[in-house]
């Protein structure tokens, strides 16, 4: 049996954690070791915007030790991800360089949407419970040190997800000076977060009903709830009772009572208050605390990508549905975007040998097609630039920042003149590789979009066929597609420029 030993490192706001896993087809994911080291990187960053040198030294020491531990287990592969503090620190790249120089471990920065997606995958690792849970309308509240993420699910798919920049460590740091002036710290926290939560409620929740809430977060998240039992689901009444016991205690008492280290106890109250607020906003019936960590998600994702795990849940679908929801928020024509997506993917699939792109780029193309119209919401002029900006400021769960840039650029150059390498790398800092992806996807997307120029979905179906340097598109349509054909010309020129392949249209013979 082939077993891959994998290490997932998570460098977060107040903890550097590493989990060692064994991945195999038979046992899927098996956790071997969990190591956590307390290091408040976020404290530095949220205050001064940078990592202090002392913190970095300590981080290097920890990472060196982790390297030894990995060597001890003869780890085959590892991933080290930096989260919120690395996204925010001005000297993040310097920090990463120093760690790599000192330890050989390269920390990659995880964008928020990727991080949340991985956390979300960590619950998916608990197959059965997860499937059951998300059948009903469910929310996931994921509280970290720097921010929290709220995601809503309906019927097995992700509906919306929002990041709110309030995490337990950030709240604690911000309120530190006020703490001694009140005896009701929890009220202070509540007031502090109230406005943000209200905005969320108004804009994104509406009258949506949420039956279940899944709480994700740190190891002490489940400490708050479990008490003595290992039961993972609790009722709202139980939650309220536990909440009272939490807020009625000082951090020291909490530490004693819950059996957590004293340093963590100061983070428990902010966390509990956030949970309490969401429980009240959602009027939820039951809460589920799976107790998984980001590292679980990292390993699950790795296992999925390397063929050890085949999930029953379609994660790509979550991303697509999330994109569709964004599109409908900006009143994009669903039929048109779906039609463009369909055509684009057909062309993409027929050209695999030519463009050499993979599944991930296919997904980006699909999402670009779904979102290419959303700029209309702002103004009929400058649709492409408006779309670009909307996409750049809307998080799409599961996609990295770089991937979102690709999508936004494809959308932008849908109608605008294509910018060449200098321009694109200047505008969005794309490297050569992503530049080429943008170019290829733009070429395909332009053709697909042109084929539904009238928004009438005249083309029921099409069959692409690649032969002798030509791409023949056989269209199944009974209507006159003169407009489409006419406007296709310059798109086809661009397509040829990129791929060296000429597009020909042909009507499918009617039987």
């Amino acid at each position: 049996m082939s077993i891959t030993t994998f290490a997932a490192i998570d460098v977060g706001s107040y903890e550097v954690g590493m989990k060692i896993f064994e991945l195999s087809k038979k046992y899927r994911l098996r956790e071997i070791d969990t190591i956590r080291y307390r290091l408040e990187l976020g404290k530095d960053v949220y205050e001064s915007g940078r990592f202090s040198s002392g913190m970095l030294d300590e981080l290097c020491t920890v990472m060196r030790n982790y390297k030894d531990i990995m060597d001890g287990y003869r780890v085959d592969a590892y991933q080290a991800w930096g989260t919120s503090p690395f996204r925010e620190a001005k000297n993040a790249q310097i920090a990463i360089g120093r760690v790599e120089q000192n330890t050989g471990i390269r920390i990659s920065v995880l964008s928020n949407s990727e991080q949340r997606f991985l956390s979300y995958k960590s619950i998916a690792a608990m197959e059965a419970d997860f499937q059951k849970m998300i059948k009903k309308s469910t929310a996931i509240v994921d509280v970290g040190g720097g921010s929290m993420q709220v995601s809503l699910f309906d019927k097995d798919a992700l509906v919306t997800t929002q990041n709110i920049r309030l995490g337990n460590l950030r709240i604690r740091e911000r309120l530190q000076s006020l703490e001694k002036e009140t005896i009701h710290y929890e009220q202070l926290v509540e007031e502090f977060i109230h406005n943000e939560l209200l905005t969320f409620q108004k804009l994104y929740l509406g009258d949506r009903e949420v039956k279940h809430v899944i709480f994700l977060g740190d190891f002490f998240t489940d400490t708050i709830f479990h008490g003595e039992s290992q039961e993972k689901t609790i009722t709202r009444e139980e939650f309220n009772r536990l909440y009272q016991t939490v807020i009625s205690r000082s951090p020291d008492e909490l530490a004693m009572h819950m059996g957590v280290p004293a340093e963590y106890a100061s983070l428990i109250v902010p966390t509990a208050v956030i949970y309490k607020n969401f429980v009240d906003i959602f009027q939820t019936e039951a809460l589920w605390v799976p107790g998984t960590l980001l590292a679980d998600g990292i390993a699950y994702d790795y296992g999925e990508k390397h063929g050890f795990i085949h999930s029953k849940h379609n994660f790509e679908n979550d991303i697509v549905v999330a994109a569709e929801n964004i599109a409908s928020r900006y009143l994009a024509s669903r039929r048109h975007t779906q039609a463009v997506a369909k055509i684009a993917l057909k062309i993409f699939d027929s050209m695999k040998k030519v463009h050499g792109l993979g599944e991930r780029e296919r997904l980006l193309l699909r999402i670009a097609a779904l979102l290419h119209e959303c700029g209309k919401y702002i103004s009929m002029c400058d649709i492409s630039d408006n779309s670009f900006h909307i996409i750049m400021s809307t998080e799409i769960i599961g996609l990295s920042h770089a991937e979102r840039q690709v999508i936004a650029s494809v959308v932008r150059y849908n109608t605008r003149d294509f910018g060449y390498y200098e321009e694109i790398s200047r505008d969005i800092g794309a490297d050569r590789e992503s530049y080429l992806i943008i170019a290829k996807l733009t070429a395909i997307h332009r053709v697909a979009n042109a084929l539904d120029r009238s928004h009438y979905q005249k083309i029921r179906d099409l069959k692409p066929f690649l032969k002798d340097g030509q791409l023949v598109l056989t269209l199944d349509s009974e209507r006159d597609y003169g407009l489409e054909k006419g406007l296709l010309k310059d798109k086809a020129d661009f397509f040829e420029e990129i791929f060296g392949i000429r597009i020909h249209l042909r009507r499918k013979k009617q039987v």
Binding site: T34, Y37, T223
Partner: protein, 716 residues
């Protein structure tokens, strides 16, 4: 029901006084005429070394408290001053008893029965012997002794802790008649030379030995040539040696301990032992210089420092006066098996030392060091033997590229010097050495071997009640468990992560760790037993421990007893509980076994409505174990092993030979054996272990008869 106060001082015994009672139980072994003579020497020697350690650590600490004007009372309501007073009284009595045992019983028997002449006064030497010792003095002793005198220009010299010395009063020769001026001089009896000197056999062919200090005393004139020696007497001092390290300030624990070791020689003198017929003028000098109070002076009727009896025990011959050397039996499960891991994969293995051999534990580490599939070995080491095979195996493992992490407890009392040496050695070999934890002593005994197998990582764990010390494993009764249960493995990994400075795990599957979780668990389990009793169910607690003095645990036991829980305790040493108090402890039974082997295992049993929860581990029910040490207690879940351990407890409660039973008046008494079958638990276990090793099917004694092979048949 009224809330009863179980914390009344009269319900408890001071721990130091309880310890002195323990030393008395050891002494009673030396007084027991049914025990072979040389074994009795050994027990007598142990009472002496025990007492030394007791003074250096416990009495010293009380003295410190008195100096600091600390007046808080202990659990039995005594202030440090009162405790010292009681200790002094009891110790004087104990020493009296020690020397009457020596003088009246052991010493005469040596000559009469064993035909060994131990000369404790050089005047008793024969002429030939005198000649021999004088030559010995000149050739071997003289070059290594340093006589030191005190006068106005030379201050009183440093007298080393625990060293034996001869003090003398000397006066200048050829001084004109008139006033005689006495000067003080002292010479240390060299510790590099053996305390016992064998004398050439006399005509009766009787073996004879003399004590080193007697030879020096006889020749002391040769050390002060231009003086007359007026009198010379041996004396010995005990200094305050409690190693209290301020860890907050100690940047580097290792350096700090090395520094403290040097300082230990300089501590305050807390006990002065002198010969009972010492010259008064000499005594006065010592008393003044050491600043000793009357109650700290012990007048000894015999040789000082009886630990030399251990050397006497070690003399060759005299086999009929010794118990034959104990041979641990091989462990059945491992006989004829060359791979320990395969054996452990089959099932958990229980070890009961010293009845069963400690070899499998050594072999476990040794094989792990060589096994190509082993990735890592992690172990906690507290006290190890000199030249330990385990240390050697760990070093080997590191050289073989295994990841080896060793937590070396530097604070293990009196072993620091030893520990530092081999800790350095391990580090050099490439092991990751953790030098203990700041503020906590790591007392847990756990070994983890991580092995990569066909089906992935498998972890093998050894958990024990005793140290990883192959020498003491022949003398101490300890239990151990080998398992590859994944839950134990995960917990063990978490233990070492914690010991390496990483955060604690989310939860523990099986192990109970001190200082964070253990006390609460024990109190919880006692509480549950109490509830069962209150509900009218059978409720029963058994614990086998070395010491019992944690106030919270004792209070909980009193409460449980008052509620009707039957509590049976095997406490070898200190026990601050009282039994038979109306409404408090009539359901508590305490016994102490002092035998050939030092009772050392810790076993805990809770009836728990028939669930019969059984645990073993490294922790005693002492505050220091529960609150200031890293300890591990683990459950025993395998039914066969559980049965075995229950059998051990059962036999120990039947013991009527070596068991002393705590009486309501606080004294320990042996049972009346008349008309009863004698049960000596240690002997029974020894017997059982041997039978078990033999009973193994398939274990054949290799035949000594050569069997010629048959010729190979030709192909047809």
């Amino acid at each position: 029901m009224e809330d009863k106060n179980f914390r009344k001082p009269e319900y408890y015994v001071n721990r130091e006084l309880s310890w002195l009672l323990f030393n008395r139980r050891v002494l009673s072994e030396a007084r027991d005429k049914t025990i072979p003579l040389f074994e009795r020497l050994k027990f007598l020697s142990i009472t002496s070394s025990n007492l030394d350690e007791f003074f250096m650590v416990r009495v010293a600490s009380l003295k410190d408290q008195v100096h600091a004007q600390y007046t808080k009372t202990d659990i039995a309501g005594l202030t440090p001053k009162e405790q010292l007073k009681r200790i002094s009284e009891d110790t004087h009595e104990l020493v009296q008893l020690q020397y009457s045992t020596y003088n009246r019983s052991v010493y005469p028997a040596l000559k009469k029965k064993a035909g060994l002449s131990l000369i404790t006064q050089h005047e008793d030497l024969t002429k030939a012997q005198k000649k021999y010792v004088d030559e010995y003095f000149e050739e071997d002793i003289y070059p290594v002794v340093t006589p030191m005198a005190m006068d106005s220009s030379r201050p009183f010299p440093l007298i080393r802790n625990k060293s034996l010395n001869i003090g003398a009063l000397i006066s200048k020769k050829d001084r004109k008649k008139g006033k005689e001026i006495l000067e003080f001089a002292t010479v240390q009896v060299p510790s590099v030379l053996p305390r016992l000197i064998h004398l050439p056999a006399d005509k009766d062919q009787e073996q004879a030995v003399i004590l080193l200090e007697e030879v020096i005393e006889r020749n002391i004139g040769k050390l002060f040539l231009s003086y007359d020696v007026v009198c010379a007497h041996p004396y010995r001092v005990m200094r305050n040696a409690d190693l209290s390290i301020d860890e907050d300030e100690a940047e580097d624990l290792l350096k700090e301990i090395q520094k403290q070791l040097k300082k230990r020689q300089w501590g305050e003198v807390i006990r002065l032992e002198v010969e009972d017929k010492i010259d008064k003028r000499l005594l006065k000098v010592l008393k003044t210089e050491f600043n000793s109070k009357d109650e700290d002076i012990f007048y000894i009727q015999g040789p000082l420092d009886l630990t030399f009896l251990m050397k006497l025990y070690g003399m060759e011959g005299f086999d009929e006066f010794k118990t034959p050397a104990h041979q641990p039996a091989p462990v059945q499960e491992f006989i004829d098996k060359d791979n320990v891991f395969k054996v452990i994969q089959q099932k958990d293995v229980f070890l009961h030392h010293p009845y069963m051999s400690f070899d499998p534990v050594v072999e476990f580490v040794r094989q792990a060091a060589k096994d190509p599939d082993v990735l890592a070995i992690k172990q906690t080491l507290y006290r190890v033997s000199g030249n330990s095979p385990i240390i050697a195996a760990l070093a080997k493992a590191a050289e073989n590229g295994k990841q080896v992490s060793v937590l070396v407890e530097l604070k293990a009392r009196f072993d620091e010097e030893n520990n530092i040496v081999w800790a350095k050695m391990l580090e050099k070999a490439g092991c990751h050495v953790i030098y203990g934890l700041v503020g906590l002593k790591t007392h847990s005994k756990i070994t983890l071997v991580v092995r990569r197998e066909e089906a992935g990582i498998r972890r093998y764990v050894h958990l024990g009640t005793g140290n990883y010390n192959d020498s003491t494993a022949r003398l101490y009764t300890d239990c151990g468990l080998f398992t590859c249960d994944a839950r134990f493995g995960e917990d063990a990994t978490a233990v070492f992560n914690m010991l390496s400075g990483y955060s604690e795990p989310k939860f523990w599957h099986k192990l109970i760790m001190a200082p964070l979780w253990m006390k609460r668990r024990f109190l919880g389990m006692i509480e549950i037993e109490k509830k069962h009793a209150e509900n009218g169910n059978k409720a029963y607690i058994v614990a086998k421990i070395n010491s019992l003095c944690d106030p919270d645990i004792m209070e909980a036991l009193y409460e449980a007893s008052a509620a009707g829980v039957q509590i049976h305790l095997l406490v070898r040493g200190i026990c601050c509980l009282r039994v038979g108090i109306q409404g408090v402890s009539e359901n508590i039974h305490v016994r102490s076994i002092v035998g050939d082997f030092l009772e050392h295992s810790r076993i805990f049993y809770f009836y728990n409505n028939g669930a019969e929860d059984l645990f073993m581990g490294s922790a005693d029910w002492m505050t220091r174990n529960l609150d200031r040490r890293v300890e591990i207690v683990f459950p025993v879940e395998d039914d066969a092993i559980k049965k075995e351990i229950l059998h051990i407890l059962d036999i120990e409660f039947q013991d009527n030979v070596k068991a002393h039973i705590l009486q309501a008046d606080g004294q320990y008494e042996k049972q009346d054996k008349r008309g009863k079958v004698l049960v000596n638990s240690q002997m029974i276990f020894s017997q059982e272990a041997k039978e078990r090793a033999k009973a193994l099917p398939g274990h054949q004694v290799t035949s000594r008869v050569f069997v010629p092979a048959e010729p190979v048949e030709d192909d047809a």
